[in-house]
Symmetry: C2
Subunit: 344 residues, 2 copies
Amino acid sequence: MSPEPQKGRAPSIRDVARLADVSHQTVSRVLNGHPSIRDETRQRVLDAMEALKYRPNRAARALVTSRSRTIGVLSATTGEYGPSSSIAAIEDAAREAGYFVNTANLAASTPAAIVDALKHLVLQDVEGLIVMAPQVRVFDVLAGMAIDIPYVSLQSTGQSDHRALAVDQIAGARAATQHLIDLGHHEIVHLAGPQDWIEAEARMRGFLDAIIEADLRTHPPILGDWTADFGYYAGRELSRYRDFSAVFAANDLMAIGLMHAFRDAGLDVPRDVSVVGFDDIPVAQHVSPPLTTVHQEFREVGRRAVALLLSELRGEPVSQSEEIVPALVVRGSSGPVHAALVHY
Amino acid sequence: MSPEPQKGRAPSIRDVARLADVSHQTVSRVLNGHPSIRDETRQRVLDAMEALKYRPNRAARALVTSRSRTIGVLSATTGEYGPSSSIAAIEDAAREAGYFVNTANLAASTPAAIVDALKHLVLQDVEGLIVMAPQVRVFDVLAGMAIDIPYVSLQSTGQSDHRALAVDQIAGARAATQHLIDLGHHEIVHLAGPQDWIEAEARMRGFLDAIIEADLRTHPPILGDWTADFGYYAGRELSRYRDFSAVFAANDLMAIGLMHAFRDAGLDVPRDVSVVGFDDIPVAQHVSPPLTTVHQEFREVGRRAVALLLSELRGEPVSQSEEIVPALVVRGSSGPVHAALVHY
DNA sequence: TTGTAAGCGTTATCAC
DNA sequence: GTGATAACGCTTACAA
């Protein structure tokens, strides 16, 4: 009933060669943009490709070049906005550069799970790795596995052997904390992220820097897990001992859970307690009160990660890209309205 | 300084063969679990592999088998919880089944962008496709490109040539709407998702079914874009004409934006207006008031999508998997507390 | 149970 | 400029 467009096997470079009346090698040259080819010949080849709907065979190419043109992403997300956005941007950027992306998501942050995920990526022959996961642990495992693949990760301190993205999380956290200090707060608590994440560590560091610089009392930080549920839990505990007037949460989700708990405890945010978050996720401005937070350019982070990794793969010198500094976004939950603070 | 663990080239099947003193073919047999091999021989081969740290070459295998062991995911997300969670689950499930996942994210939902993304996946030689994107448009484009790859998509109606996941979005939406009706609402508005998404279409359908069944007035639905910002915008418009007492939003983000707008307009949720969402994203229970919503098992959806696609790839008969019915979660924003409704 | 031969579709290397 | 020839590492025949 239907015409026979294909004869079983997909057209190869030799089929194109036959039709264009050249050697298969010439077809290969056209494919790879080799300079010394007569225009007329090239055109004939291109026409033949078009006619045959020729598509190069990735496996064959990978076999002979031993390059997979694939980069791996090691992620550890349960659907959070930040990582998801960065990963999407990584895919876009990679695609644009002619690369494929393979993501392995960590089921747990145990060494075993990390080994599993890395093995999977290695099996896939990834040429490089972008780590969006508990970096501290991942680095350990990487070292232990003796895997020799170039990788890129988020980093805030300059000390590392591999290439790292320069997102100044410390500066962002410092700004957030300073904002609270400027509002007149003296007793500020930090609800931190898991400390095996570089971001979490850096945000705590920025927090402490600001606190110490202002010569304020250092409250023991609470170590959270990035989730809103944990934020709620922490908020419940916190509202028992009210020896603080403000909280800097390491991310917005925890901040939102926190505010919920404060509400439940009869505390008014921001009248009684000020809360600042980090990330500026899309709902941040729609909760009540709108959350003051630190804006991150997640897509830009993804783009830069790819650029960095590709330059590494190409053996280019480290291009000193400017640092991304997350920007404080004041939206009201801890805005200047609240000069009259209630200290406990 | 360091020992020389590898001599440039990665060990191949032949290196293993030489060390185990068998033919390379025997090694291949061990690799593929061929039955007729003497145990002693197999062990020798395995030992040799171990000693050489042999890893099979994916490209070579793919070249000769013309199977990439890769499935493609066409997504269209900007970091939303639902799709991101499903995609993560897809990766987990695929990995467990020995498959790799390649995701192409739609920059826009224009035909050109869809063609781009699909071409990328085809280039990658994906064996099958999971569509988590504006399916209506994607199907059109797929048909137009004459691509012959098995694909799976979310689907609520039974009418389709390809395999579809049975997630009964209609039932979920109907339950949500019925909940509002049970509370005594007569004037209910639907804030819908983009109609080229099957989910959006199905949720509107479920809404309308419930409305019609209860013989209520049908308000013209508002067509949104899934974002909280749009929800806010819609809420602002809606609060001008207050000819309704409840809104069923097609997803939680829009519902949250909506509530924000109502708050700004001086309307109290749920005293003045009831709002129900869809998805049950992690922040849903932490906003004020907690959002009544319809819970979805995003990870389960991802897992089933993979199972379905793989069974298709293996040519297995369609296993009639049970339908997933999203469950209504009542959390308070429109709970029975609000018997006294204010109608406009 | 094992080995030998051929070929998958491409690029690299050397001729002409 | 272009063409032959030899890999790349594996699996699918077929033979022993």
